[in-house]
Symmetry: C2
Subunit: 720 residues, 2 copies
């Protein structure tokens, strides 16, 4: 396999080091991500009580060897910083102690640094004129370099080296273990003060550390947080709280240890205490908002902005589900955040970190997050990542762990080759009443099939023809089986499940919409699914933004942008009407009053700032602006604008090295791209004109035009 | 499998808790052992430089659920101490915060405590009147207890619970993470002081922290440690050293941070410094010496005592190879320490800890210590442990990890079913010049076969008939194959190896002596091996005490106690003549002068206090006193005294609950056992007499007598 770098301990590689290289802290692939995820996910509390995840938490390797072979034209001095106990070996010779700098002579060398760190991740920072710690270093958790009684080193190495992983810790003092998100002070928009109590309203959903100022006296302070005013006022039922004991004769300020999600804060203190004021430290990820969208519909604009804020709040060390709860990394939730991110921040490191953290380590003892569908979304996310970013490194780094996770799946197939829920497997699909999880659920098989296709694609990318062929075969066989078992001519659709190989009579949207945008349906089946399932009022409605994501995506795929636009206005607009300042975990338009906040049998169980609520960002970017990569990393891309009933729209979609701008109304389009080779596809009732480019007619009112980067295009046409 | 305890999260077990139970700190099986081994093994230094192991270092699970189901007759209050961040759930309901005590009402309950600890091992201590943390608690690293949108808990659990592991931390303040071995002050026997230098001689090999007293001034102190005087005086080549920088106007004492092995210490300091004196803190494991041996030969008595001291020094947090180096846990070395331990300390916890630490965690990526033979010794050690201690718990706890390690082995067989050294595999066998490791080595196949038999035995013990049958079959097939390929009628022995299935012409002792005491040889083959291999001067001599262990064991098995006694006196006595105060890693009687200290191409590379040098303890206990268990935990045992040329001998062999005492001269024997059911077997030229027991004649001068515990037997007989 090309991703495993074998290096004999004695060989002298002759790598010429680049000029002016950048040094950065490096570590074993995934180790820092796993460690940071452990730290972050353990910050969830339930009414003051530690509330950790319920699946396996992995650890970094506590002992690590870092190695670099290089050739020096001139002697140089290197600086060495390490997180952990360490030694340094140059050309097999141990330096005394743990040197922080070293002189290296001209010629070929192998430098290796071995680090132990149980509590934090073994990581190093090396900086010389040409020798720097970067992704070219090779790492192993078992170098297997024994010596025999004569002092001779082992010569038949079986050691597997991986390339180093890194983020943006680019100076020796920025220790990875000390990382925390930035904060800035923020203040309430309004306050209601009573005897020994203070109710703050920050005007919109926010996140951070509450700060109490000028506390004095003796007694207890109880702080109740609320995403709604009702929640903050419910001392008995609010989901998060803090309790302090204060004993101070002089005024002091107190910043809470754990960040919380809230719009309202209800602070109550004992009568022997006094408090001057309270504010907060807003905690955020400093990802840049690179995507934009504006259009003729002010409600859509508001929805886009609130969605962007919702996604930003949930974009932290990792993509999390919700900021109040669970504050965990859920693969199915994160999968949607990745896709939205490609149209908003295009922050690849957050995607990479999340993918690594979700996968954890071998052995695989459970589905990701215990959920079968979430295992499959994880596979899909890797292929998407490559398509959007063009960065193959994560596939190289993760392929061994992709294989072992797929082995886990393959080992759990039933006699029909399907994956049913075994004890300990959560078949999630969606929050929906009465959804059966029994037998072999068609939705899961579709995702399984897509995952196998992803494995085949990744194997091909890594030039592993044997694996590619094996996974392709498995996928093809499974797809054939899925349609032979689940496709119902009677219902013109895939049925929901099969018990003992026999299809049930239940039809719902899940499997059908995925089959549709996976491209698994024939044109006739597509039209059948549209008519008999997606636009059929007798089929159960989807009530979570989570599955709305895919439902609306499949309708967009069918060209129903106009219908979808109205859906977005109704559904997301419905939340805004109820005062939402961020989008919710679930929204049922039929619910009224305080019931809208309840979930999981708890009055304020529902998260009011949930990443999966932000899908309009993705839909508007991909299916209205219509911009998407068709070759890895936007090296080739497509623009298929669709106003969907809007008078005009304009927006920017970020790409790895730049952006693609589009303005579009019913008669004019402007395109300006700084990256890749694009094709603009559109229909026009009259012959379109563009001075800057050559428009080719495809017949039947269809046209296309090549987009060259750096050119400002103006296209005059007639959309209807 | 009976060792995996499945418990539904909702079930209410009705366990009646014992009266007056003992609380102790508990953790997940192996996790503390792995963590402690990481800490201990990283204390090795090479001339002041950190020198870690070269195989994979595993970690504890950072997140752990502890669970106990019980029934309370009366309400009680429990005290809770935890290492880590935690929550407490009673009957599924979370208590607020992290309570340190809790009142529990009458009735059935499930108490669970969930703990996160990245740096140290999640562990708990719970103490109530009847509810205590002990080995009956169930633990899991993934409870998989999700809830659905209605708040309902998952009902189809696939969670695997293991029983808790523990040691002897029996009070809430004895935190497992704070454990360290005890120390006591010790002083040099002699000292040579010169200008700014001091050479201390502690009279014999010792271990601990050097302490410098009354340091004052400014400058450097260099401390060179030596197991020999030559080593301490060799500033350039001694294996361990410390360097200090002192800047102090007042006198101060300084204790070295890392313990060292030494007899001599050479302290040199700058002229602007002064030093009053130096002594040490002797660091030791407080295992009790329960076995004893004394006989008519003073050299043998001295050898036994020096061996006991050697083993004690190498018995620490774990059984290590040597106290100077490597200070690591090596499976082949530890395997011998276990066997010696059964005749000296009978300290089961040290054996258990070492076995757990060696195994580490899944996935298996290498042989134990990277050495194929060492993987096999690990399997063998588990069966021995059960035989000597009668404690089946370790098999229950480790069986899943035994299986995955054996899967690793089985997956690496060649087309003949043999295990050859693949890249990264170290075929160790012994330190011996010119020993070929090519092809399929017969010695490794014998150990492999014995390991498969061990798997079959353990599976039987756990009532896993399917596994037992599978492993028995694999072992039988392999044994047949070994003899068909390696047994040479020409050499009357097993040959050393086979290349491409063809046996080589090399004969040495290794495979043959193991085949012998494994009981794999027919009576004729046994005699052949004795004559043509073991007592054949043309066969290469064994020069390590390591393999002498097995050579002398196989000769004792053949009844050659007299010959072996002389070997012990020559070989171990030879080391004593050279001034040894503990036994060495290697001893070649032909070496003279300083050469005796060199190894690994380093002048003082050889360890002069090596656990595998202590084998006389085992040989004298098992083959002279002749005491060994024949049913698990000495429930049944055999005494077959063999003077081997001694006039008299007496000794004590420890058992799980007591001891077996034997005195024996040529005409009289005394036996006194406090445990188990024994049989005394002996030969006598005349009819023996014993008032306390009934002697049965087996014919041909052979007799046996049943030994009942608590009776003082006196047997009068005639040994020749």
């Amino acid at each position: 396999m090309i991703l495993l770098f074998l290096l004999s301990g004695n060989s002298k590689a002759q790598n010429i080091v680049n000029k002016e290289p950048k040094a950065t802290w490096i570590w074993y692939p995934g180790d820092y991500e796993i460690w940071l995820a452990n730290r972050m996910q353990n910050r969830r509390t339930d009414r003051g009580t530690f509330f950790p995840i319920f699946w396996k938490m992995d650890s970094h390797y506590p002992l690590m060897e870092f190695q670099k072979a290089f050739y020096l034209e001139n002697p140089e001095k290197i600086q060495i910083a390490v997180e952990g106990q360490y030694n340094v070996k140059l050309d097999g010779k141990l330096a005394e102690g743990s040197p922080t700098e070293m002189n290296i002579g001209k010629g070929s060398h192998i430098l290796s640094i071995k680090v132990f760190n149980q509590a934090n991740v073994p990581s190093i920072f090396v900086k010389g004129k040409t020798i720097v710690s970067d992704s070219s270093w090779l790492l192993t958790f078992e170098d297997k370099e024994w010596i025999d009684a004569s002092g001779k080193v082992s010569d038949k190495s079986g050691t597997v080296y991986m390339k180093a992983d890194y983020w943006n810790f680019d100076t020796p003092t920025e220790l990875p273990s000390q990382f925390h998100l930035p904060t800035k002070p923020a203040y309430a928009k309004s306050r209601e003060e009573k005897n020994h109590s203070l109710l703050l309203d920050f005007g919109k959903e926010t996140f951070g550390f509450l700060k109490l100022c000028g506390l004095k006296g003796s007694g207890k302070v109880n702080i109740y947080y609320g995403e709604s005013k009702e929640e903050a006022l419910s001392a008995d039922s609010c989901e998060t709280l803090d309790r302090l004991s204060i004993h101070s004769n002089t005024k002091l300020d107190s910043v809470m240890k754990l960040s919380k999600a809230f719009r309202y804060v209800n602070i109550r203190w004992d009568k022997n205490l006094s408090l001057d004021s309270a504010n907060m430290l807003y905690e955020y990820s400093n990802v840049k908002q690179r995507g934009s969208f504006r259009c003729s519909d002010t409600l859509i604009n508001k929805i886009w902005n609130v969605a962007a804020y919702t996604l930003h709040l949930n974009t932290r060390e990792f993509f999390i589900d919700g900021i109040k709860r669970d504050r965990w990394i859920w693969s199915g939730d994160a999968y949607q955040s990745y896709l939205m991110n490609y149209y908003l921040f295009f922050d690849s490191p957050t995607v990479e970190r999340t993918i690594f953290a979700l996968r954890g380590k071998d052995p695989v003892t459970s589905h990701i997050n215990t959920i079968m569908d979430y295992t499959f979304y994880w596979f899909l996310s890797i292929h998407d990542f490559y398509q959007y970013t063009g960065n193959k490194r994560i596939i190289e780094q993760l392929y061994p762990r992709m294989k072992t996770l797929m082995d886990f799946c393959l080992s759990r197939r039933d006699k029909n080759g399907f994956m049913e829920g075994l004890p300990g497997d959560w078949i999630f699909i969606d929050w929906a009443d009465g959804l059966s999880k029994k037998g072999a659920v068609s939705f899961e098989q579709l995702l399984f099939c897509r995952s196998l296709e992803t494995m085949a694609n990744c194997a091909k990318l890594l030039n592993d023809a044997v694996d590619a062929e094996m996974y392709s075969q498995l996928a093809a066989t499974l797809k054939q089986k899925i349609f032979s078992v689940y496709w119902s001519p009677k219902y013109h659709a895939l049925v929901h499940s099969a018990i003992d190989g026999q299809p049930t009579d239940v039809v719902n949207k899940y499997a059908n919409m995925f089959a549709l945008f996976f491209g698994y349906l024939s044109p006739q089946e597509k039209q059948d699914v549209k008519k008999y399932v997606l636009l059929n009022n007798k089929i159960p409605k989807i009530t979570t933004p989570y599955m709305q994501f895919y439902e609306l995506e499949s309708l967009c795929d069918l060209g129903e942008q106009k219908y979808v636009l109205q859906q977005i206005k109704d559904y997301w607009g419905g939340m805004l009407k109820l005062g939402a300042t961020t989008f919710w975990e679930q929204y049922d338009p039929t619910q009224k009053g305080a019931a809208i906040y309840s979930m999981y049998a708890r009055p304020f169980g529902k998260s009011l700032c949930h990443a999966w609520g932000a899908s309009p960002i993705y839909l508007l970017g991909k299916y209205y602006l219509g911009i998407k990569p068709i070759a890895p990393g936007y090296s080739k891309y497509l623009i298929q604008p669709s106003l969907g009933g809007l008078k005009w729209m304009e927006g920017t979609v970020p790409t790895p090295k730049g952006q693609i701008y589009l303005y579009c109304n019913e008669t004019e389009m402007k395109v300006d791209a700084s990256d890749g080779e694009g094709v603009l596809e559109f229909t026009s009732k009259k012959k379109p004109i563009c001075q800057e480019g050559k428009i080719i007619s495809k017949g039947n009112n269809n046209y296309e035009m090549e987009i060259v980067k750096g050119v400002n295009y103006k296209v005059f046409y007639q959309s209807r």
